[in-house]
Amino acid sequence: MTKNFATKVFSIGFWLIVSAIFLLTLPLFLQASWVSLINEMLIMALAGTALNLMLGYGGMVSFGPAGLYAVGAYTTAILLTRYGLPFPLAVLAAPLAAAAVGLIVGWFCVRRSAVYFALLTLAFAQIIWTVIFEWYDFTGGDNGIVSIPIPELLYSITHVYYFSLAVVTVCLFLLWKIVHSPFGTTLQAIRENPMRAEFIAVHVRRYQLAVFVLSSFFLGVAGSLFCVFAGSVFPDYAHWVKSTDMLVVCLLGGIYHFAGPIVGSGVYILISKIISKNTTYWMFFLGIIVVILVLYMRNGLVGFAAEKLAQMKNRSEVKKNKDVP
């Protein structure tokens, strides 16, 4: 029992080290356009994991993560372009602004549950989109904001990649800590049965609001990172299509595993990239893939893999036990 546990931890740690080495060295052997693509995956992985804090751990289906993501992106963009703030401040302000907006939006949204919650999040995200789209003097409307004065150091794809990698790693670590804290456990209890949670004196609504704000905070980080990465922002970032991208990333990877959205992000961006390179009917193929995933891998890629691994382990253990006379 203890040994099993030890090997498990060892293998997780081991895989973390392997992927860390891979991520740290990849600009040395990969083409710049792939580095840039992996940068996008990292940012999407953070956005997905932030959403999954609500979706997978809190059981709150949000259709509006893109709104908060856009708040992050636009905060950095506007602070840099209009107010000429120093770069670190503009980046740090993004998650705070997103969390503040998340607090307001969340305050309304957590008052309803299930479908109504989902609809409210969608509505608020569309409000954010409309504000960005229509407020020309401030947000640039449908022209977005271009030529954002990012420090020249971050112009190079490799440098901006390391920047994203560092920020995403720190954020994922924090999210991991949150999920595995008593707060995270309470959250899962609420997901499983809100009423029972309330009976043991958990203030459900307050917890849900807290997770909403936390999730907004990290979505804001992701948005800000994308702004730094792309050097421009557009109202599309707040559009519901972007929200569904994030939801698909979570579902694809598996919402009941911490690594789900991370794997989902990599696979989703890679798939859409490869498909759209080879055919213009990318929507069709993407649709087929999603159908297959939903029908045959209901817990996502990570869930599926974990299930298979567990089965294999079980089998070998049964075999081992049989061998013992």
Partner: protein, 413 residues
């Protein structure tokens, strides 16, 4: 333990190998000059993308058949931007970095164009726009690495219709209807600015604004009919919105009651499926960006035929622009004698394109080609199945913002 380490090393190395294998293209004997083409190739706007791609292909086939440029063949690589600036940017990076594209061209979405424009500015690579209309691309957000061989929103939505109206009917009392967003407002602003300068005693008696995406215009149509105006002006109502408006206005008899200025109506893209007997903007004054039926140069006729053969429908103005872009690049490369972005930019600045629609200068100040805008009256003629502009006339450089005006817009820079 040991085995695990070895296994992981093998795994990591093989992943690295797979990744490095996906990328690089083998160098051919004669490396082609690569033109990256990013457009909307799927979804609602794909017709423009497919048509533009065909236009570029026609030019490239002609040039390669005649021996290429500096002895090297031209090659165009197409990517779908899905109308999304993120995807467009990703594809632009991929084209420049892994496909080693020498130039980027394309886009219909202005957001995608702005995103790519911002990127090429950093990378110091050339990007030539073939459709995106946003005037800010060559005005407020202009930089050395962007060119546009196409009209832009100022002449197309505002100045050209104003000049056309001043040359024809000189309507005195005008009512406008537009989509309620920035481009709509800017269209009317540009139209007013030019028209009131040309016909000082004219008046815009009322401005009506419909929310973006409106399809039921009946309330607005009644209002227009009873306004006492002698003409109406559509400010940036296009595509499905324009089709819906026209259907309702036609049924109402609005085109009999008053004169109509419908800027978009001259382009084939919206109207090619409309047949005789169906509703169309009858007798409306309209602008058009490629009235191939009215262009007599045999090269244009051949172009239309080749386009038909290639994709099976009429060429959009995007196809013509992409055709001109490829030839402009060829001329510039030959003039410079090398594929050198900086020198090519200098060569393109102030170059005059010799095209089948006449001589088109590229203005050095804003890198905007002075593409003509045509106008005429919407009608049917025996040779074509769809409604189109007749009595065609052309507006040239006078349709564009003057250099002084752009200087002012750029804050005196």
């Amino acid at each position: 333990m040991k085995r695990r380490v070895i296994r992981s090393i093998v795994l990591t190395v093989s992943i690295a190998l797979i990744f490095s294998w996906i990328g690089p293209a083998q160098a051919a004997e004669k490396t082609p000059i690569v033109i990256g083409f990013i457009h909307s190739m799927s979804g609602a706007m794909s017709m423009y993308g497919i048509s533009s791609e065909a236009g570029g292909k026609i030019a490239i086939d002609e040039i390669n058949a005649a021996g290429g440029v500096l002895g090297r063949p031209l090659k165009m690589i197409t990517r779908d931007d899905k109308l999304n600036p993120e995807t467009g940017l990703r594809e632009a990076k991929d084209l420049l970095l892994s496909e080693k594209a020498d130039f980027l061209t394309g886009t219909i979405s202005s957001a995608v164009a702005l995103a790519i424009s911002n990127y090429v500015k950093r990378e110091k690579k050339l990007f030539i726009v073939n459709i995106s209309q946003s005037s800010s691309l060559t005005e407020e957000n202009w930089h050395r690495y962007i060119f546009r061989i196409d009209t832009n929103a100022v002449p197309y939505w505002g100045y050209a219709p104003a000049i056309a109206l001043a040359k024809t009917w000189k309507a005195k009392k005008i009512i406008s209807l537009g989509f309620d967003y920035e481009t709509g407002k800017n269209s009317l602003k540009a139209f007013k600015e030019k028209y009131l300068q040309l016909v000082p005693d004219a008046k815009i008696i009322d401005e009506l604004w419909a929310p973006l995406g409106t399809t039921d215009f009946t309330a607005y149509i009644t209002k227009m009919a009873n306004s006492g105006a002698d003409a109406f002006f559509l400010a940036c109502i296009y595509g499905g919105g324009e089709l819906a408006f026209t259907k309702q206005a036609y049924a109402f008899g609005l085109y009999e009651k008053m004169k109509a200025i419908q800027p978009c109506a001259g382009d084939v893209e919206t109207w090619y499926q409309v047949k005789k007997g169906e509703s169309y903007p009858k007798g409306a004054l309209a602008t058009c960006r490629y009235p191939f039926w009215a262009i007599q140069d045999p090269k244009s006729k051949a172009f239309v035929e080749k386009h038909q053969k290639l994709v099976g429908f009429w060429p959009s103005y995007g196809a013509m622009n992409q055709y001109f872009i490829v030839y402009a690049l060829k001329d510039a490369i030959e003039k410079v004698g090398a594929v050198d972005t900086e020198k090519i930019i200098t060569a393109l600045e102030g170059m005059t394109l010799n095209t089948f629609v006449g001589k088109v200068p590229i203005r050095a100040y804003d890198h905007q080609a002075m593409m003509p805008n045509w106008y005429g009256v919407m009608d049917f003629s025996p040779n074509l199945t769809f409604p189109h502009i007749t009595k065609v006339d052309v507006i040239g450089e006078e349709g564009y913002h003057s250099v002084d005006k752009i200087k002012a817009l750029r804050g005196g820079k």
